[in-house]
Symmetry: C2
Subunit: 165 residues, 2 copies
């Protein structure tokens, strides 16, 4: 039996999770530092850490934290908040917000669709290649519509399972 939860949390266990989960994110295409910063936030009790805390916990320079945070904010995987009465900043994951951003590949999907539409026009909608592109386009349009519905179902499911805000 590991030490129970009244005690201080085990930095070893935290680090193990952070590095392991970050590695999976990296494999899925996220750059290394953003992945590690994000995993560290996920594994924090408050869901928010300061730059200094991240820098120390991950053994990386403040510059690296800055870069990683900028990246993550851009893709909406965290939000920055200013600690009132301090120039310290706090970076937070909103439990739900962040994984919704995972399905919000909308921007990407849109650009794919644009490229495909141009392809259909350029190659001719009546050519075999044109038809292939058109079908692919239809698939992405379908997925885009479905994702919205899926997230709605998730919110219901989540409410039932976890309650809360």
């Amino acid at each position: 039996m590991t030490e129970a939860n009244g005690t201080r949390r085990d930095p070893e266990a935290v680090s193990r999770f952070v590095e392991h989960f970050a590695a999976q994110l990296v494999e899925a295409g996220l750059p290394r530092m953003p992945a590690r910063v994000f995993a560290a936030l996920l594994a924090s009790d408050s869901g928010a850490l300061t730059s200094a805390e991240l820098s120390e916990q991950l053994r990386i320079s403040p510059a690296a934290v800055s870069g990683a945070v900028r990246y993550l904010a851009q893709v909406h995987m965290l939000s920055r908040e200013r600690e009132p009465g301090s120039r310290r900043e706090r970076y937070r994951v909103h439990s739900d917000q962040w994984y919704e951003s995972l399905t919000n590949r909308e921007a990407i999907l849109k650009r794919w669709e644009d490229a495909l539409r141009e392809g259909v026009t350029g190659l001719g909608a009546d050519t075999p290649a044109g038809r292939r592109l058109a079908e692919t386009l239809a698939f992405f349009e379908f997925v885009e519509r479905e994702i919205a519905a899926l997230m709605e179902r998730w919110r219901v499911h989540r409410e039932k399972t976890f309650g809360g805000t």
Copy 2:
């Protein structure tokens, strides 16, 4: 009015699409050569090209084609077929198979789930961090289940819209 479709297809238009679409794929995380090879296949009338054709059309070395093809085959975005009575190989996109592979990030999802499960155990299911990880885990499990249903609906929709095999 561009030249109609009885005539030879316009290599300019093809190249424009290939490079543009490939660029979007790259932005989404696919390595450059696999992206270009894949786009070229998508834009081909037969849906299949030989190594030599790809090498010429994209102005890349046979080695680059080989590498790209290996990558794409690994992630199930194309299949290789041997042309009977020739040592030439042919690389093909199956219109539907390939984008199903897009939603088949199953392997990735599974590994994420594993890492999260370990995290919940390691940090304690009764800690705030543990609860956050558990909720994230639940989300991925939910998505995994939903994706299957989504693809089923797509197949029905596709049948209605495009008919065919």
